[in-house]
Point group: C2
């Protein structure tokens, strides 16, 4: 290896600085320069909604190390040992002579800079749909630190009252909370009929959406935006959808991110169908001296379980890719194993997360899957902080391996999600998941952790013991008629809340003696608050000779549609 390797990095937000820091530690002799066309470097973009919402008090905090040192040009020079040049745009790569053309953004001057190894960390940019009026004042994105500063100023101005968030993805959901916390009227507009539709299955997205509604977010689902309506001065006044019109002083368009691939494309590097720069497992592009990482690449190295390339722009992935690239440049070959499309977001009191294959993705890949929706508390009910979770597991029927997991609710979802991530990565079967010796004490979990129990229920389904159906299937059956809904909860639970249909109410403790009141010629859908008593009802009725009984998974807590309440 060249002792004084010249490394040029394009882009100074996440993958770029990570690559430089790691490389400098393992190859201290490397001469590293980062060119960043903007003014902001190494900031925590994922923290921006928390600054807008008032959780992070200073925008500066997004640029600081944990001990309060700002990661600026001087920091990288003195502490980390490499150069960062801001306001410098790399406009061309000259692969034959191994130089990049760098343009000074202010003066327009261009200079050529030689490299031995080049790293493209050009990031992504928000998708900008060709909708009428999108150029209006007040229609904007929330992607860069500048976008964040601008929005903050606008909100401080006090004239913004109503905000439309276009797209119910992660940014849309996080911003909904942030803007409600700032006292605004918020409408989330989404063309699919549930939130985070790209990543969640329908019942999970519907369930999470109910919480947003309860927190005062206006959800406008199932209808695409057709126009940003303006007044005579070109200022936004409303957002029109196929079905409706929503007054708005400001619209934030957050329907996705696409890779910044122009520089790579111009240089003739291979680009994937999803528009990301193609890289191998070491981050090398089609030119072995040029690497790429972060939101500008296509993650075409994937876990076998995922079945197809993913584009999941995530700060976590960008940072890991930076490490892999630095390693490879320094001669340490450590392949990046890929991602499971893991995401999590907080929405008011709910945690919403997913990893691996969704049921829909699995079916698209023609994988024969079984699923379960389990609901229950995350720790003993007598402990403070105890809250329910809805856990959906997706397994391959053939080998019982876990393929995916989605979790929604106020309980500790993040922990169970990360257990699922680890289990899927390592090829765990349902049986292995069911008996994991997870950490138990009342402040943290139940003796049998919720994810163990969810696995047990799915085992019971696959073993033919538990006849659970998802709430989506149950709703369809109810709408079609000719089923009996059997509520086996206690009278006080029944009084408080329930499914908004005609139901037969027999508390589980009375079911053995009152079973004969139920008809044998109709399908019976048993349910309770969660799932256990519904399942027990199914087993008791089967013992009594009923042969067409199932239970609604998730019970009342997991019911993703309207409920009957006593208010």
């Amino acid at each position: 290896m060249d002792k004084d390797l010249r490394v040029v990095i394009v882009g100074g937000v996440a993958c770029g600085p990570k690559t430089a820091c790691r490389l400098k530690r393992i190859l201290p002799s490397a001469k590293i320069t980062i060119f960043e066309k903007g003014k902001d470097i190494s900031y925590g973009a994922c923290g921006m909604p928390y600054y807008i919402g008032g959780v992070a008090e200073e925008i500066k905090a997004l640029c600081d190390t944990p001990v309060g040192v700002t990661r600026d040009v001087g920091f990288f020079k003195n502490v980390k040992g490499f150069d960062v040049e801001c306001g410098k745009e790399v406009v061309a790569i000259n692969r034959e002579e191994k130089t990049v053309t760098v343009k000074d953004v202010d003066s327009g001057t261009e200079t050529k800079v030689p490299y031995d190894k080049l790293v493209l960390a050009t990031g992504g940019k928000p998708v900008r749909p060709p909708i009428k009026g999108i150029e209006a004042n007040g229609v904007q994105h929330f992607h860069s630190l500048n976008d964040c500063r601008k929005l903050d100023e606008q909100l401080k101005g006090g004239k913004i009252k109503k905000v439309a968030l276009v797209g119910a993805g992660l940014i849309g959901i996080e911003m909904a909370e942030a803007l409600i916390d700032r006292g605004l009227e918020v409408t989330v507009i989404e063309m699919f009929n549930y939130i985070i539709p790209a990543l969640l299955d329908e019942e999970m997205g519907l369930l999470a959406g109910k919480h947003l509604k309860a927190k005062g977010v206006n959800l406008a689902m199932g209808s695409p935006v057709t126009e940003f309506v303006t007044d005579g001065n070109g200022n936004l006044t409303a957002v029109k959808t196929k079905d409706n019109e929503y007054p708005a002083d400001l619209a934030i368009v957050a329907i996705g991110v696409q890779p910044n691939n122009e520089l790579a494309q111009k240089a003739g590097l291979a680009i994937a169908p999803n528009r990301g720069i193609m890289v191998n497992e070491y981050g090398q592009t089609s030119d072995p001296d040029i690497y790429a990482g972060g939101n500008c690449v296509a993650t075409n190295y994937v876990y076998p379980v995922m079945g197809r390339p993913l584009f999941t722009p995530q700060g976590s992935t960008a940072n890991k890719e930076g490490r892999v690239i630095a390693n490879h440049i320094a001669g340490l070959t450590e392949p990046f194993p890929g991602v499971l499309g893991t995401v999590i977001c907080k929405a008011f009191e709910y945690n919403i997360g997913r990893t691996g294959l969704s049921e829909r993705w699995a079916r698209d890949l023609n994988i024969d899957v079984e699923t379960v929706l389990w609901t229950g508390p995350d720790r003993p009910h007598y402990m403070p902080g105890s809250g329910p979770l809805a856990i959906k597991l997706i397994v391959n029927k053939k080998n019982r391996k876990l393929l995916g997991c989605q979790i929604v609710g106020p309980g500790d979802a993040a922990k169970r999600l990360d257990i699922a991530v680890t289990a899927i990565t390592l090829g765990a079967t349902l049986e292995q998941l069911a008996y994991l010796d997870l950490a138990y004490a009342p402040p943290y979990a139940l003796p049998i952790d919720p994810i163990n129990t969810a696995a047990h229920v799915l085992q019971n389904k696959l073993d033919g013991l538990a006849k659970g159906i998802s709430p989506l299937v149950a709703k369809k059956k109810i709408d079609e008629g000719n089923v009996v809904l059997l509520d086996v909860r206690t009278p006080w639970e029944f009084e408080e809340v329930g499914l908004p249909y005609d139901v037969v109410h027999i508390p589980l403790g009375a079911l053995r003696s009152k079973a004969q009141e139920l008809p044998k010629d109709k399908e019976i859908l048993a349910f309770c608050k969660l799932s256990l008593r519904g399942y027990e009802a199914q087993r008791i009725l089967e013992e009594k000779g009923f042969d067409n009984v199932c239970f609604i998974e998730g019970g009342v807590i997991g019911w993703p549609f309207e409920l009957r309440t006593n208010q």
Copy 2:
């Protein structure tokens, strides 16, 4: 299978009821009876410290289902479909005629009850050491619901001011918090020199112990109890150790639990060297019609990684064993894979957890291991709830597989511990742990999760890049002299707190220019607040020609001994 299988279960707390509930669901025709010699059934014993501490408001809550129904005899009869008889002690098993002799505790009457399958769930009992004065009034255990009620009454009486907790295991630590919360003066007495010595490595136990001290617990470590001192009326007045004497109105002896194996032993069933009833992976004892589970068994089915049988009395294990036993009785053969000795406990603001092999256990088994102690925040510093963690990983040097993990600190330790549990169970290598696609968003984690980063540092150590030493080793080197301590933190960090020794203070950003001030003939121990800058200092100095530099893992945050503070 016999259609009306008669199943007798001995013991009604955890494994017993779980076995019965599961069995009744999968084999509804089974006739099940639980005999419990006490009056309390199916209670959450692990919740008792939280009742004493005032976290759980009612003791009844420990016996309720999440919807508030008490799990009493009527509940099990009507809802679950089996019989529970309290005040009935099984005094003998007649294996040839397949009956048990049941004694009515009040009347003394004995009856014989036939069984097809018998399940022993007789639990454990607190170890009672033969120490002088242990029979004194005021020397007691905290094991059963009755112990809990008694203690609660005593504390309500208002005469108890000083409590000695004998044994710094899980119960001792949980009770220390509970009793401090009730306004008492608490001394924890432990013969080892750090807390939870059976399960934690020394530096982790020392680090956790510092937090207890900071919260006002008097830690009397490293000296065994020699006598419970009494007044003329046989009432406790003090606890004497080899080195000291601690005034106490009450002493709670919690030095461990041992299996209740008498019934099994009398019946000639095989007993393990650790005194647990021997069972196979289906919970069968040496008599195939007799099963045993919970705290009365020896977990002699173990993960290969553990290397030896474990006795880890845990509610989580008892419940899973109940499921396995019920399955096997009903003809579903699902082996119990064993446990990793996972435990977690809350101690004031700290979470303390461990799983798998400790470094000490691994060395006892002659496994060549490498370890790392990593410290850092669990999520971005600008997010509320962000707190540091100290994570220790233990890997097999030969195959880089994760063997164990210990975590201490106010950050979210439970999540990372459960990731480690899953990883160890599934045979993960360090490389797999390092790149897990864990869920990232600012409320939950850092872009590279702490456990990913800990794995990275350990990779760096194994790859010869990072020369980290544990604080125990560092302390030894400092005590022996002839080392230079190099503090590379910022001036304001240095001002606030530090190691209580002569140190050279050069902030990392100045190290490249000031390196020549350091001697080349002495070993340099670099450190920072956490570990990263210490490691970077090592790399910078190596680049400058220093060949005897290492860094202290965990930095100031992970230093388990006294610190210099500016107060």
